[in-house]
């Protein structure tokens, strides 16, 4: 019961069949032909991977993903409004 309510709460927060309006920024060597920054409006719900594909990115080429300043992964659900950043593979020294 708790799990069902939790799931419903998640859907309620993110909307059911609503639209995403997210600020997407691409950094570094990732697809230099794509716009570096754009506002994307898509049908919701979507994962990070789906958003990436929809704007022309190959998910396999993405290094780091950050949503509203928090590191995330390809299978994460994207909030209805957020700042979503895609980085090329990078590592610290």
């Amino acid at each position: 019961m708790k799990r069902i309510l939790g799931g419903l709460a998640q859907i309620a927060c993110n909307g059911i069949g609503g639209r995403l309006a997210i600020d997407v920024e691409i950094f570094g060597s990732l697809r230099p032909d794509l716009p570096r920054r754009q506002t994307v409006t898509l049908e919701h719900p979507l994962t990070v991977s789906q958003v990436a594909t929809s704007i022309g990115l190959n998910p396999d080429e993405i290094g780091l993903i950050v949503i509203d300043g928090v590191q995330s992964e390809l299978d994460a659900a994207v909030p209805t409004t957020c700042r979503l950043c895609f980085f090329a593979p990078v590592s610290g020294g």
Binding site: F27, S29, G63, G69, Q71, A88, P89, S91, G92
Partner: protein, 569 residues
């Protein structure tokens, strides 16, 4: 192979056999072991009994790509414990080709006397260094290469090392325009200065390293290089090559870990001007260079030569840590300003991390304003001049905070934190608070770790840090650059085969893993015997209480967790 033992009191340098205990050690493994065996841990780091060791890694001298980093080790005057810092350039490969396992500098010259050590394939002698005394590292290198040959490697200290400042590092020349590669951390430049040693000149080597199994070695080292070329991070289209380490500025800022105004925030409003993309754009537009390398044969080539508007070189190379610590940490959002400060630190022979942190504290104390580059330059000049205030700043973040009455000092084990605020990247906080090296990102950098932990959460950080610290020990002991880790992490047998190809030891993966863990055990034991306790390693109290924007994060990995990091070592 031989050791070169240099007695600065007797002014005598001689080749000596390698004791069996050291035979299978290189780089950081060797410096750690030699310190534990030969340096009483409680003695003065700037005194007679400390030893300064220069050791190539196990893979040096065999033309393994990126394996020429040179480890420098001693008891650190900054941390009070064991210290290893390593530098790119040409020193590591050259010494290994000469059959020199390490140079060990012992005792001290008479006060006021300065020497250089000239090393050839067959000899090592100490010569007076009056003509380079008081010079910065760039002028020292220029003068000594004029005298000994343009293809010689010059290892030197600047004024900071001569003044025995605890923020002093050791510079080494590299290939072509990469004039300044630094074993920067932990005050090793002060140790070199305390010996009366201004420089080491290493002639170019004509010998090559004999190989125990040439076929095995050539196959595996070729595969290693190819895998780096094919890797999306390190290949020709990868971020490291295109933008250098500045490629991470945007990401570190985005996750809220970018040191800003004395670590008072984790995001800098002018970070876009400091990004790797901007650096590349500006450098190329002005006739500078990107994608250069510090040592021959490196396939990654992450260095650059940053130039001014007239195309005149400011610094080669401008990298992430300088951009963070003498950039955003000082409120500076202009790469030209950062490059100039970086050049000054290099020339004075200062660790940019330690100095940047000290300057950030000085600015918080009101000695100049954040973002006021002229005010900051004036402070940094004093370090090179050795004024009283300059000596305060040159002795690092902790000293500067103490003298100026500033509590917010970003340091652990007495050493300043590098360019990742641990409140938003807690894995790095665990490394800073447990590594025997003190606050050192190269000892175990959690940035970019995917699918393992949430950088803002407590869970999983200590396990991640331990894994990274073992990896760092491996890289530092083999001479490999940190960025070359992907292939050897994906297939540890690759590293073992390269080692067996050179030495014929018949190592297994388990032997290698044990050797790398032993590095940490050795270092932790030295620190324990030096009297260092867990309290000395702790994250500063204010970072546990003062939330860091933009996430309002504090460092909340419990002390009990930190104390357990090495329980499975």
């Amino acid at each position: 192979m031989n050791l070169v033992r240099v007695d600065m009191s007797q002014l005598r340098a001689q080749f000596a056999p390698v004791p069996p205990l050291y035979e299978r050690l290189g780089g950081r493994a060797l410096t750690a072991k030699l310190l534990l065996e030969e340096v009483p841990p409680t003695r003065d780091a700037l005194g007679l009994h400390n030893k300064l060791i220069f050791a190539p890694g196990l893979l040096a001298g065999a033309n393994v790509t990126t394996a020429g980093r040179l480890s420098v080790g001693a008891k650190s005057p900054l941390t009070g414990g064991t210290k290893e810092a390593n530098a790119g350039g040409t020193g590591g490969d050259t010494l290994a080709k000469m059959g020199i396992k390490a140079i060990v500098i012992e005792k001290q010259a008479k006060p006021g006397e300065w020497y250089l050590l000239h090393v050839t394939e067959d000899s090592a002698e100490l010569l007076p260094a009056h003509d380079v005394r008081g010079l910065g590292t760039y002028a020292t290198a220029d003068k000594l290469q004029e005298r000994f040959g343009a293809d010689s490697t010059i290892i030197s200290i600047g004024q900071a090392g001569e003044y025995l400042m605890h923020g002093a590092g050791i510079a080494s020349t590299g290939e072509r325009d990469q004039r300044s590669n630094h074993a920067a951390r932990g005050g090793l430049g002060a140790v070199m200065g305390s010996k009366g040693l201004k420089a080491i000149v290493i002639d170019n080597a004509r010998k090559s390293l004999p190989l125990a199994d040439a076929e095995l070695f050539r196959t595996t080292s070729k595969r290693f290089a190819q895998e780096l070329i094919n890797d999306p991070k390190t290949g020709q289209k990868g971020s490291q090559h295109l933008y250098g380490t500045a490629s991470i500025v945007a990401a570190v800022n985005e996750i809220g870990s970018f040191p800003t105004r004395n670590f008072s925030s984790g995001a800098f409003e002018h970070s876009s001007e400091l990004r790797g993309e901007r650096l590349r754009e500006v450098a190329l537009a002005r006739g500078g260079k990107v994608g250069t390398h510090c040592m021959p044969g490196c396939v990654i080539a992450c260095r650059n030569q940053y130039v001014d508007e007239a195309g005149k070189p400011i610094v080669g190379t401008l990298q992430y840590e300088a951009i963070a610590l003498v950039g955003s940490n000082l409120g500076l959002g202009n790469l030209d300003d950062v490059a100039l400060l970086n050049y000054m630190c290099n020339d004075f022979g200062l660790d940019t991390i330690e100095t940047g942190a000290a300057l950030g504290i000085a600015l918080e104390a009101g000695l100049a304003k954040f973002g006021d580059v002229e005010g900051i330059i004036a402070l940094l000049k004093q370090v090179g001049e050795g004024t009283v205030l300059g000596r305060v700043i040159g002795n690092g973040a902790v000293t500067t905070g103490r003298v100026l009455g500033i509590r917010r000092v970003p340091a652990t084990l007495g050493q300043a934190m590098p360019g990742y605020d641990p409140r938003s990247l807690k894995g790095n906080g665990v490394t800073y608070a447990t590594s025997p090296q003190g606050a050192d990102h190269t000892a175990g950098n959690a940035f970019g770790a995917r699918k393992e932990v949430n950088p803002l959460a407590v869970q999983g950080q200590k396990e991640l840090s331990l894994k990274l610290q073992i990896t760092a020990a491996m890289l530092d002991s083999t001479g490999l650059c940190l960025f070359a880790r992907p292939p050897v992490l994906a297939d540890p047998q690759l590293l073992v085969d390269m080692i067996n190809g050179i030495y014929g030891w018949g190592w297994t993966k388990e032997d290698a893993d044990r050797a790398h863990r032993d590095v940490l055990r050795t270092e932790l034991e030295f620190n324990r015997r030096a009297g260092i306790t867990s309290a000395d390693y702790r994250i500063p109290e204010y970072m546990r209480e003062e939330p860091l924007a933009p996430h309002n994060a504090v460092f909340d990995v419990p002390d009990s967790g930190l104390d357990a990091v090495f329980s499975t070592l």
